[in-house]
């Protein structure tokens, strides 16, 4: 019971908060609607858990609560994958930055016959 109330309270809080942001023109109308629908569904699921069972049995999973956990795991995997990708991309960009700085500030020995004038 406590869990249900907490979940509903959080859903209401999330919707109110997003509505304020929408009114302050910080998020788009589209995003507000998506967000509101999502949290409304969460609230419905919290009030009447058996409704999720209908969806669950439709896709072939026994219980609605299980289905939510499965979806959660898949989403988390995807998010971690995206984060790793992003982190790799950042690392590559840092390397490129460090590389360009190194090339620009080259330090050449005074007696080198090859330095200077060869730039293309």
């Amino acid at each position: 019971m406590v869990f249900q109330i907490a979940l509903i309270a959080f859903a209401v809080f999330a919707i109110v908060k997003t509505r304020k942001q929408y009114q302050a023109r910080k998020v788009s109308k589209y995003w507000f609607i998506v967000f509101a629908v999502f949290w409304t569904l969460v609230a419905i699921a919290a009030i009447t858990p058996q409704t999720t069972d209908i969806v669950a049995s439709y896709v072939g999973v026994g219980r609605g609560a299980d289905l939510l956990v499965y979806i959660g795991v898949v989403v988390l995997f995807y998010v971690v994958h995206r984060l790793l990708l992003k982190q790799q991309q950042l690392s590559d960009e840092i390397t490129e930055l460090v590389r360009q700085a190194a090339i620009e500030r080259v330090s050449t020995p005074s007696n080198s016959p090859l330095t200077g004038g060869e730039a293309k």
Partner: protein
């Protein structure tokens, strides 16, 4: 023929001076990339006659090699680029043998090998074992049959150096290069070189266990990127 040696350096102040002079005896220029060493590697390399580039953050051996190659291709107009080590394990006198097939137009890239005739001196047994395993691994992953996939001693024609762009910043670049040889259909050849292991270089060089890190980086590149 203009031969330029590129040397990645990380905390090698005790050996890099000798390595630069050794390489300079067989090349027209030496480019050292100081990969954010905490010692005087860069200064000593410069005093020994190298052109020195400095990474302000440590980016790894692969990244340093690519920085040196970028610089050389842009400003030094090399016919051949030689990958050389800062720690004195490689012998400058082997450079001649490595570049000859490229000069003759018989190969685009020549890879040094510790297992073709010339003996590696004082190689620990466990390292030999892991290196043997890497042969099988390379064959499986890249389809390249090669006796010593993780030898850092290489010679590349200017065109090969342009084709091979190292993106794996850390140790897996050696395998990446082999991959790119196949992708760019470069003509390659192996050439025996002497690698001299000493107590000092073994202590400095990362553990042979890093092989696992290399495998991880490679798989990441194949499947994630």
């Amino acid at each position: 023929m203009r031969i330029v040696a590129v040397i990645p350096a990380y905390n090698e102040e005790t050996r890099i001076g000798a390595a630069v002079r050794d390489a300079l005896a067989y090349t027209q220029a030496v480019v050292v990339v100081d990969d954010r060493s905490r010692d005087r590697s860069g200064q000593i390399a410069k005093e020994a006659g190298a052109i020195v580039l400095t990474h302000h953050l440590n980016r790894g051996q692969g990244a340093a090699l690519q920085t040196a190659t970028d610089y050389a291709l842009r400003y030094l107009n090399p016919d051949i680029i030689v990958h050389f080590d800062a720690d004195g394990q490689m012998q400058g006198s082997d450079i001649e043998g490595l570049v000859t097939p490229i000069m003759r137009g018989e190969a685009d890239i020549v890879l040094g090998s510790r297992f073709l005739g010339k003996q590696a001196e004082n190689m620990p047994r466990f390292r030999r074992l892991v290196l043997r395993a890497s042969v099988v691994f390379t064959l499986a992953l890249s389809g390249l049959r090669i006796s010593d996939p993780h030898n850092g001693f290489r010679a590349l024609s200017r065109e090969a150096a342009r084709d091979i762009r190292i993106t794996l910043d850390r140790m897996a670049h050696a395998s990446e290069i082999l991959d790119l040889i196949i992708v760019a259909s470069l003509r390659f050849r192996e050439h025996p070189v002497t690698i001299r292991y000493t107590a000092e270089t073994l202590e400095k060089s990362p553990s042979t266990w890093r092989a696992f890190g290399i495998v991880k980086d490679l798989l990441k590149k194949k499947f994630v990127r």
